[in-house]
């Protein structure tokens, strides 16, 4: 049995998330992954924006920062650059990270700054009651796509790689042991790392798409049934992959990390972090 209590602000529980919300599952996965790193709690900063997922920092006993909608990575960049010895972890909803926060996301990828971003990708704006997000599947109904979503989705991994991220992975809230592994690897990676976690929000997304997702359990089953590991996916055609969730570690590259590079310049003048 993993002892979460070490990392929890237990007095804040139960958390505000709905019954069965994937955010809780992923939060636990993050805690297990952190534990495996052996890092000091004082050296860890968990930063979020605004959204259901972004309430996470309130529950975990680190340096925690709940910023403004979409801005987690901007704040996190400041923290990491000002104090590079801190381990900075950003937790962000799909809306937070990729709608309003999309610009900070691609620039953090580009800089290759040593921050791990976990995208709690439930394909919906949960907190505000279920409007479509940049990752809502085609045709799904939501409170602002009552006629079915007409907008194409982002592939979080592809955009992260296109922007220069050096570690990318995708997991689901169903495949928890794998997720632990991806997150742990992301934390250990030197450089900007992204884990896209496919999740489900029954309250605002499932309920208005009952045909596709009769219950919150079905939403997890959907992940179970549609996930295909990247190794296997490589052998399949585009057609066969339609609607599938490709999981695994997509890229893991070495490239100079931003704050280290910066420190070298500083050191060349006098030495020592201030």
């Amino acid at each position: 049995m993993f002892d979460y209590s070490k990392y929890l602000r237990a007095s804040k529980l139960p958390h505000i998330w709905c019954p069965g919300c994937g955010h809780g599952i992923v939060m636990k996965s993050i805690l297990r992954a952190i534990d495996k790193t052996g890092w000091e709690k004082d050296d860890i900063v968990v930063v979020s924006g605004i959204g259901c997922a972004s309430r996470l920092p309130g529950y975990v006993d680190f340096n925690t920062l709940h910023t403004a909608h979409g801005r987690a990575l901007a704040f996190a960049t400041g923290i990491k650059l000002a104090k590079p010895k801190m381990h900075v972890i950003v937790v962000s909803g799909d809306g937070d990270a990729l709608a309003i926060g999309g610009n900070h996301f691609i620039h953090a990828c580009r800089r290759n700054i040593d921050i791990t971003t976990i995208v709690f990708n439930n394909g919906i704006y949960g907190m505000t009651g279920g409007q479509y997000s940049p990752t809502t599947p085609d045709g799904d109904r939501s409170s602002t796509s009552p006629l079915g979503n007409m907008e194409p989705e982002f592939d979080v991994v592809k955009i992260a790689e296109g922007a220069g991220a050096t570690f990318t992975a995708r997991g689901t809230s169903y495949h928890v042991p794998q997720l632990d592994n991806y997150i742990h690897k992301a934390l250990m990676h030197k450089g900007f790392s992204v884990v896209d976690v496919i999740e489900a929000c029954y309250t605002t997304h499932g309920r208005v798409n009952k045909k596709k997702y009769p219950s919150n359990i079905d939403m997890l089953k959907f992940q179970k049934d549609n996930a295909i590991p990247i190794e296997k996916a490589k052998k399949l055609s585009e057609k066969e992959l339609e609607g599938k969730i490709i999981t695994g570690i997509f890229c893991e590259k070495e490239r100079t990390e931003f704050t280290e590079k910066y420190q070298k310049i500083i050191d060349s003048f006098s030495g020592g972090e201030k």
Partner: protein
């Protein structure tokens, strides 16, 4: 007087040097005319002196990055101009409610919108006070010379650290770009204030605890674990919707500043005591006003100038004292009447005469004097 300490520099460079003097170790910014020289100076000064400069992807990220860095203990700063200042508004409110000290310099230019990017204006004076949503405190300093760009920037850092709040420095294209001689003070010559942090480590249960009406005593990230949020929160730092606490904290972040006026207020008075014509003016317009006062006095007209260096909170008591006895109040400003609304608000007695210019040119002493010709003095 040795040459070495005197420098003939731009206002923007003086501002950057003031930041360095105050101990700024982190700058996050995005270039924009006419503020960019500040960032440019910091981009060389900081890495050479163990600090960090980063050019962020936009102004929102710039302010976000310095709030983040400030939470680790750094003294931080950004600089911008109108369009960027507008973009920063949301996070200014964040820094207010989360009580994070940051210094934000707005070198004002002609507007609205892209406007006249290379021309001066003073059109963000009221935006500085009301630009972000929600009730929030504002400290805004308005320098009038290259020297004050230095000293007021130092003071901005001091006030930010002391009050744990964002402090704005409102320059303008004239003050930012003109060059004057200034003496860079020796270290220690100007007092430097550093934030008070609790000495506990491990969990910090009450980061936002404070004697009533005083700033909170929040630790820096890395030694004590606590929670920071832009939601209304209680003294533990965690969100609350309890009406009594929400009201108390919303009021405290204003009261901590507005009830310590002796610390934050600053103004200059020139011949105010017996002034029949009292001018209210700030920044580069105040330089023209000062010249106008001199000229009028030479003509035997009792003119005076009240020049707030701390514009927000407005040093109203002293202003009112002089305003109530003056026959006319003249408000020269490079906008369409912003300080004028302040004068109107605080004075009940006198006639208020605006002197406005929004054509990209500075207001001249002659322009100010011309409006006095028809006054009944």
């Amino acid at each position: 007087m040795t040459g070495s300490k005197f420098e003939f520099i731009q206002g923007n460079i003086a501002c950057a040097k003031g930041a360095a003097y105050a101990g700024c170790s982190f700058f996050g910014g995005y270039p924009i005319t006419p503020s960019t020289e500040i960032a440019e100076y910091m981009s060389e000064y900081l890495p050479k002196n163990g600090g960090k400069f980063i050019q962020m992807e936009d102004e929102i990220a710039s302010l976000g990055s310095i709030i983040g860095a400030a939470l680790t203990g750094a003294k931080t700063m950004t600089s911008t101009s109108g369009p960027g200042f507008s973009l920063m508004q949301e996070l200014i409110g964040y820094a207010c409610i989360a009580e994070v000290p940051v210094v934000i310099v707005d070198i004002m230019r002609g507007g609205p919108s892209t406007g006249l990017p290379t021309s001066p204006a003073q059109s963000d004076l009221l935006q500085a006070k009301w630009g972000t949503h929600g009730d929030h405190p504002t400290i805004a300093l308005v320098p009038s010379s290259v020297e004050e760009m230095f000293t007021e920037t130092v003071r901005a850092f001091n006030l930010a650290e002391y009050f744990r709040t964002p402090v704005l420095v409102l320059g303008d294209e004239i003050i930012g770009h003109m060059r004057e001689k200034i003496r860079i003070p020796d270290p220690g010559e100007i007092q430097i204030i550093n934030r008070t942090v609790p000495d506990n480590s491990g969990i910090c249960p009450l980061p936002y605890a404070s004697d009533s009406g005083k700033p909170a005593c929040i630790p820096n990230f890395g030694k004590s674990r606590f929670h920071v949020t832009g939601l209304n929160h209680d003294i533990t730092g965690f969100p609350t919707m309890d009406p009594a606490i929400v009201a108390r904290e919303n009021e405290r972040i204003l009261a901590k500043i507005y009830e310590q006026r002796e610390i934050v207020d600053k103004w200059e008075e020139i011949e105010c005591k017996d002034a029949d014509i009292l001018m209210l003016s700030v920044g580069s317009a105040a330089r023209a006003a000062e010249e106008a006062v001199k000229t009028l006095r030479n003509k035997g007209i009792k003119a005076g100038l009240f020049r707030p260096l701390t514009l927000w909170p407005f040093p109203k008591d002293t202003f009112v004292k002089y305003a109530e006895r003056a026959k006319y109040i003249i408000v020269p400003e490079m906008n369409l009447g912003q300080l004028k609304t302040v004068a109107e608000r605080f004075t009940k007695r006198s006639k208020i005469i605006p002197v406005n210019l929004v054509n990209g040119e500075p207001i001249s002493p002659e322009h100010i004097i011309s409006v006095t010709n028809y006054l009944n003095i």
